[in-house]
């Protein structure tokens, strides 16, 4: 597609439920990143994919969070047993590889609200 696509754009769930957030990167971009943006705060790095592998998972806040990527394309971020503190906008970004010094291309985000 023309840009990074994320779905759903908004998700409201009850505490304790599992949620899946999807990211479809720009075609040909083999590097994919997930970030979290809590209300009024900056972006927190969660995980980086190169192809289908994740060499950097250092930002995942707990074992309730996981992500996978298949076919060097779509990625899914899964949050199990959601908590209210998981409420945030989850942003996905992609970039070409190998990268020189280029920027990240961001989607519009998935806004998660945990009641």
């Amino acid at each position: 597609g023309a840009g990074v696509s994320q779905s759903p754009s908004n998700k409201v769930t009850e505490k304790g439920k599992d949620v899946e957030l999807r990211c479809d990167p720009i075609s040909g971009h083999t590097a994919l990143y997930w970030y979290r943006q809590r209300l009024g705060q900056g972006l927190e790095f969660l995980i980086y994919f190169q192809g289908n592998s994740a060499p950097d998972k250092s930002g995942l806040p707990s074992d309730r969070f996981s992500a996978e990527r298949t076919g060097e394309s779509v990625s899914t971020l899964t949050i199990q047993r959601t908590q209210q503190e998981d409420s945030a906008v989850y942003l996905c970004a992609s970039s070409p590889w190998p990268t020189s010094t280029g920027e990240l291309f961001f989607g519009e985000g998935s806004r998660l609200t945990v009641l």
Binding site: A31, S95, T99, E103, F105, E108
Partner: protein, 115 residues
């Protein structure tokens, strides 16, 4: 560890006046620095970057940024602000030399341009 500080939560400026949004950084080695803008309910958009070379970097929408190594700063500037520039601005530094663009973001500065 790499980090970025944006000391102002909000900057207010009158339309037509020059604007500055401040950013300081802490990195080991040569910094790769970025500015992004976020409009309401949208993802982040790349504005400009500094990698090497001229300390004054020009970017999108008439923005520019000045890299100052001695002050470890990378302030965003525009000679004449527009109301449409009102948005959330993020400074970021590349957080790894591993060849991928893991960006470490500041907390963001909200720019409000008044008519």
């Amino acid at each position: 560890a790499q980090s970025v500080a944006q000391p102002e939560d909000q900057v207010n400026v009158a339309e037509g006046n020059p604007l500055t949004v401040k950013c300081t950084y802490s990195v080991s080695g040569n910094p790769y620095l970025f500015w992004y803008v976020q409009y309401p309910n949208r993802g982040l958009q790349f504005l400009l970057k500094y990698i090497t070379g001229d300390n004054l970097v020009k970017g999108s929408y008439g923005f520019e940024a000045e890299f100052n190594k001695s002050q470890t700063s990378f302030h965003l500037k525009k000679p004449s602000a527009l109301v449409s520039d009102s948005a959330l601005y993020f400074c970021a530094v590349r957080g790894t030399s591993g060849g991928y663009n893991k960006l470490i973001f500041g907390a963001g500065t909200r720019l409000a341009v008044h008519p």
